[in-house]
Amino acid sequence: MRRYLSLYFTRIGFSVLTALIGVIFALPLIWFIFAPFNPRAELGLAIPDPFSFSNFETVFENRFALRGLWNSLVQSVGGVILVGVGATLASYALSRSPIPGKNVITYILLLFSSVVSGSAAMVPIFLIVNGIGLIDTQIAVILVFAGGLLPTAMFILRDFIDSIPKSYEESAMVAGATPVQAFFDVALPVIRPGVVVVVVWAFVNIWGSFLIPFILLRSSEKMPAAVAIYSFYSEAGTPIVTLLAAYSLIYSLPVIILYLFVSWKFGFRFFGGIKA
């Protein structure tokens, strides 16, 4: 009897402590839930009265803010296309062709990509981009992101392709398909789920990133939303809180939606394991 009582009290104690930690975690976010809908929002916490969407109108009237969202989209989509195409071709080759030392290549690339991280690499990346004359261009941001994300993308995708039996492509080739046909018509449809995961992962990474565009871009016309938001609250004398709150929410939406999509489709552990 005492045994069950103690299990029962453990459960209650854990529930109270978990709820407490959950509330503490939620505190910094609560402001962010109310402020976008509060036309008189300040840095203080207040229930919107009246509840309104006028802050969103302010965002859509601000040319610089909209431009930032558009630039984020251009840079993310551009980077995602390069990562998607590059990683699919490369990981297929690493999985299916008789290139010597494939495993060593995979591990060396992964090693390099974790060693050459954003902060250690900012100086040489700036100098290289400067050297090829691409400073202050969106294409530079796209290329740098693609290069940095590709090794991990290839690693994830190769794992995925290795788990698919070769017999699909083999039977297509026995039936007379060329290797290229076997790749496009047979393999590609089968590996599509893996590509989707890699593409979503790359999109979320680029969309949320601050440092690379912050270093490589100079003119405000090319800044993505991340840099725009930062300059809104760090440079202007007093931040326009109403605008910032609504803008931050709009900017966060794609990440939230993609997160929900991935956790619904693949379970969030997968997303968790491959972020960062």
């Binding site: 840095l43 916490l45 060693v115 949320g208 270093i215």
Partner: protein, 303 residues
């Protein structure tokens, strides 16, 4: 007979080219380039911008200059600050809190579990600029939520970003990153057969005993993985810059922010590159250790 393969060597090489070029230009070249630049006096502006001179180890000597090593705003100060930041926010913060949450989530009611997970994961997936701004509002002296709570509890208000900047970024980074450890440990605990715990329950074991004797030993491998990964990430994280700018007076200038300041505010690329090389060497040690651990596990040596 040659083994049948789907892609010929040349086709394979062609498939590797696009990714290879991008990785070569923006991952591998920077690695070697930064080593080269660290031996020069390259700057952003002025004479040495176009014609940098080779100055040997001078940048490294200046970083490790004993006279100024521990001075605020110098390399040594930043390095020690970073080590404290990693120990406190990654190991003591994220890993310990993640472990505690993961363990408790095994027992608590389902609704509470999903709600808690939702909040903790939200802190982790939202873009860093948004999170930093939310914290900026949270910590505001006049109106911030934290001071509102302090007043409500009858405690004195604090100007947190000015008085305790280092502790702010430690708590901030713990808050931001706990989700990863929580999810990793949560899935590790869930994979332990429930019968182990039921047997312990019958024997009258307390939750702490079950954790110490069953839970922790069985997920040891995951703990090692988690510690290496969060250490590497925290060591390289730039996000606190968005909250504190490295200040006030260099008190939150962890190595990534120090590198940024030296290279892009003081325009000393050579010195910034030297810091980059040191950061890369430290990263290399962690990455090699991580690969060694995962490969050992893949080969089935005790996890």
């Amino acid at each position: 007979m040659r083994p049948f393969s789907l892609l010929s060597r040349s086709a394979g090489a062609a498939f590797l080219t696009p990714a290879g070029l991008l990785i070569g230009a923006f991952v591998i070249a920077p690695f070697f380039w930064v080593i080269y630049v660290s031996f020069t006096n390259r700057t952003l502006l002025g004479r040495t911008a176009l014609n940098p001179e080779f100055i040997g180890l001078a940048n490294y000597v200046s970083l490790f200059d004993a006279a100024s090593f521990f001075t605020r705003g110098e390399f040594g100060f930043s390095l020690i600050l970073t080590i404290q930041f990693v120990l406190l926010s990654a190991l003591a913060g994220q890993a310990a809190l993640g472990m505690l949450l993961a363990w408790m989530l095994q027992t608590v009611p389902k609704t509470l579990k999903s709600l808690t997970e939702m909040v903790v994961i939200a802190a982790w997936i939202l873009p860093e600029v948004v999170i930093a701004f939310a914290w900026f509002a949270f910590l505001d002296y006049d109106n911030g939520t934290l001071n509102m709570i302090m007043e409500g509890l009858g405690l004195p208000k604090g100007d947190w970003l000015l008085s305790f900047p280092f502790w702010v970024i430690v708590v901030f980074n713990t808050w931001r990153g706990t989700a990863f450890s929580m999810m990793l440990f949560n899935s590790a605990f869930s994979s332990i057969p429930p019968s182990y715990f039921q047997a312990a329950d019958v024997a009258g074991a307390t939750s702490w005993q079950k954790f110490r004797d069953i839970g922790l030993p069985l997920i040891r491998g995951h703990v090692v993985t988690d510690l290496i990964l969060i250490t590497m990430w925290t060591f390289n994280v730039f996000t606190p810059f968005l909250l504190t700018n490295g200040g006030p007076s260099y008190r939150t200038e962890i190595l990534p922010i120090y590198t940024y300041r030296v290279a892009f505010r003081d325009f000393e690329f050579g010195k910034g590159a030297a810091v980059g090389v040191i950061v890369m060497l430290i990263n290399l040690v962690f990455a090699l250790f991580y690969l060694w651990v995962t490969r050992r596990r893949a080969r089935g040596v005790a996890a």
